[in-house]
């Protein structure tokens, strides 16, 4: 091998390519944020880092021992870690409920509502004016927390997300609420939690999706890690999304098959617990090499993916299995040719409605119709969460690239939108504030950097 073909040299040369400048807009965004952000006060003398680490490991050891002892006790009480009726699975691993990574933030099992949040439902919420389409009702008192998803469960709502410990490292958190207005921290784990779904019909339960891991259990007894099998591949599969259909749970993910990552779907019945791969047609791997969203409906689920040509939806029906792929005819004009060649489904509503970047696509008959969300200066640049309500659509997202603002857009038909600021009092933000929405008890519950509640009818948002 010649020197020029030396792999190390090639790898270095490859890594030397690519952008090396942070755009000016990023500095502006940082500056505008820090001007409004207090630094965290540091209390107490500095400790020796090595001492701290030793103490931390010692504490972690004690915590592990305590968890083990408690776990053995619980195991004895419950006659085993598996729920009644569940079959033993060699892939189930007991999981300690408290975070395995001690953190000061993770110390308390509950979180108080913030002082400026309403602890009880404001009387005006049932007729919210458009100027305040969604009301912030709750925020964790530790403002490092963000919520990624929310799900309706037997006794209320579960939201999942993450908070940061003092070393700025994220750890996963699940919160529970009976009404949507008050939330209590119920679960902590060492990885960020991305998705939550209701477990199943017989006895409730919750399934959480963390980074590369599934957790199944319930909020009172704790959770177990579940591994997805990959019989014809190598390495650990990557779960991406979950859907609950009837008595079945489906997980969308990717598996490494002989060195190639391919879309995969696993199913687990609510009573058995073991996960099995279901047959995925070859066309799915060819047409949608990247899959990233899944949503359940009455009879099956829909997957959203993307390929270099177009976003694609693919439906699975419990009785007839896979349908034909449904390509959304999205064509992005190539202005700078530096980004992906196709739009990304940023919010999947159902098999006939999806948000692709800044547009809502609605299928009428056999044809897809596109609607830009908002108009002119009120146009949404990225829709992040969307719901189909009884009388139309609600989409939340951001507008403006340099100084993003969080907005809520509603429309009865996708053509005319009422767009309002989500945080009229906040000047500028970096992150989209809402990442998931669900309809619950006649209201829209939206979660992100806090919890927001609005009416579940589009007509209530229109001035």
């Amino acid at each position: 091998m010649t020197a020029s073909r030396d792999p190390e040299r090639l790898i270095r040369a490859f890594l030397d390519e690519g952008p090396i400048e942070l755009p000016e807009r990023a500095y502006h965004a940082v500056r505008s944020t820090i001007d409004q952000t207090r630094q965290r006060a540091v209390v107490g003398p500095w400790r020796d880092t090595r001492m701290f680490n030793r103490a931390r490991y010692a504490l972690a050891g004690l915590a592990t021992l305590a968890v083990f002892v408690v776990g053995v006790g619980l195991f004895a009480q419950r006659g085993g870690l598996l729920a009644p009726g569940a079959s033993p699975s060699s892939t189930s691993t007991p999981l300690a409920n408290p975070s395995a990574t001690p953190s000061a933030d993770a110390a308390g099992p509950t979180v108080r509502p913030s002082t400026d949040a309403a602890a009880t439902p404001p009387a005006s919420l049932t007729a919210t004016p458009a100027a305040a389409a969604m009301q912030p009702v709750w925020r964790a008192d530790d403002d490092t927390c963000t919520m990624n998803d929310v799900a309706v469960v037997d006794d209320g709502l579960v939201a999942v997300g993450s908070c940061r410990n003092p070393e700025a490292r994220r750890y996963g958190v699940a919160w529970h609420s009976e009404t949507g207005f008050e939330w209590r921290r119920v679960f902590e784990i060492y990885v960020e939690v991305l998705v939550a779904v209701s477990g199943n019909g017989d006895g409730g339960g919750v399934v959480l999706l963390g980074e590369f891991q599934l957790f199944r259990g319930d909020l009172s007894a704790g959770f177990e890690v579940e591994q997805l099998p990959n019989p014809h591949g190598r390495g650990s599969p990557i779960p991406i999304d979950i859907a609950h259909v009837g008595q079945n749970l489906f997980v969308l993910g990717e598996t490494d098959v002989d060195g190639v990552w391919r879309p995969a779907v696993w199913v687990s019945s609510s009573s058995e617990g073991a996960w099995q791969l279901i047959n995925v047609p070859d066309e799915l791997a060819n047409i949608a090499p990247d899959v990233f969203l899944m949503v359940a409906d009455e009879n099956g689920f829909v997957i959203a993916g993307a390929n270099p040509v177009a976003p694609v939806l693919w439906r699975y029906d419990l009785s007839s299995e896979w349908g034909v792929p449904d390509l959304i005819p999205f064509l992005r004009p190539c202005t700078d040719c530096s980004g992906p060649g196709t739009g990304e489904v940023t919010a999947l509503i159902d098999s006939e409605a999806a948000v692709v970047d800044d547009s809502l696509w609605v299928k009428v008959g056999d044809a897809w119709h596109v609607h830009t969300i908002g108009e002119e200066q009120h146009k949404i640049d990225d829709g992040n969460a969307a719901l189909r309500l009884e009388d139309g659509f609600i989409v939340t997202g951001i507008r403006g690239r340099t100084y993003p603002q969080d907005v809520v857009a509603t429309s009865t038909d996708g053509a005319e939108w009422a767009v309002t600021l989500l945080n009229p009092d906040a000047e500028r933000r970096i992150d989209p504030t809402i990442r998931a929405m669900v309809e619950f008890d006649g209201r829209v519950i939206a979660v992100g950097d806090g919890v927001f509640i609005g009416p579940a009818r589009v007509s209530d948002y229109v001035p």
Binding site: S4, R5, P7, E8, R9, L10, I11, R12, A13, F14, L15, D16, E17, G18, P19, I20, E21, L22, A26, Y27, A29, V30, R31, T33, I34, D35, T37, R38, Q39, R40, A41, V42, W46, T49, N148, S162, P166, E167, A168, R169, R170, E192, L194, E211, I240, D256, G259, W261, P289, D290, F292, P308, S338, G339, P340, G341, E344, I430, D431, R435
Partner: protein, 185 residues
């Protein structure tokens, strides 16, 4: 210079922090892009990292260690950003159509770039971070372990796995330059 700015910023001076951010921002962007393989995600990760750094600056014990400390925050932000978006998109670039070297002094050909891009995408973010800090930033394994807050053995194994995967992609390319595309990018 940097130490003085860190000291001022720790006392709550946003001007000093702004100047500090401009000193380190490009470097952070370069690292984040190479971990995430996406310029937009990288920009967001750097923004978030700088904001976290501002908020947590009081926790920085040694002002001379600002940049390594920031890099750890940045790496965690890269992980969080990628997972929040659920997937990492591939940048499509205009590449020379010739299979040979693109230009004088350019030791990478189109196939090399293609194979390395795919191989990098298949690595976990944690493995990519170690590759970037080792091959791009030029840190030793000891330094990587310290900067990322991981045990030395973990850094070694991540680099070992990642390097093998990257080498294998180049070797496979050398053996079979016309190998079929397994996944459209």
């Amino acid at each position: 210079m940097q130490r003085a700015l860190v000291d001022q910023a720790k006392r709550g001076d946003p001007e000093a922090f702004d100047a500090l951010a401009r000193m380190v921002g490009d470097r952070c962007m370069a690292i984040a892009y190479r971990i995430l393989r996406d310029a937009d995600l990288a920009e967001d990760a750097v923004q978030n990292a700088l904001i976290v750094a501002w908020r947590q600056l009081g926790a920085l014990r040694d002002e001379d260690r600002f940049e390594p400390w920031l890099h750890r925050i940045l790496t965690n932000e890269c992980y969080a950003e990628a997972r929040r978006r659920r997937r990492i998109s591939v940048q499509l670039r205009v590449l020379p159509t010739s299979g040979g070297a693109a230009s004088t002094g350019d030791i990478l050909n189109v196939n090399d770039r293609d194979q390395l891009e795919r191989a990098l995408r298949r690595l976990t973010l944690e493995q990519r971070a170690v590759v970037v800090f080792h091959h791009y930033v030029g840190l030793s394994l000891d330094e990587i372990a310290s900067r990322l807050g991981i045990p030395l053995g973990t850094a070694k194994s991540r680099l070992h796995y990642a390097s093998n995967a990257l080498r294998a992609s180049l070797e496979a390319d050398a053996r079979a330059p016309s190998v079929s595309r397994e996944r459209p990018a």
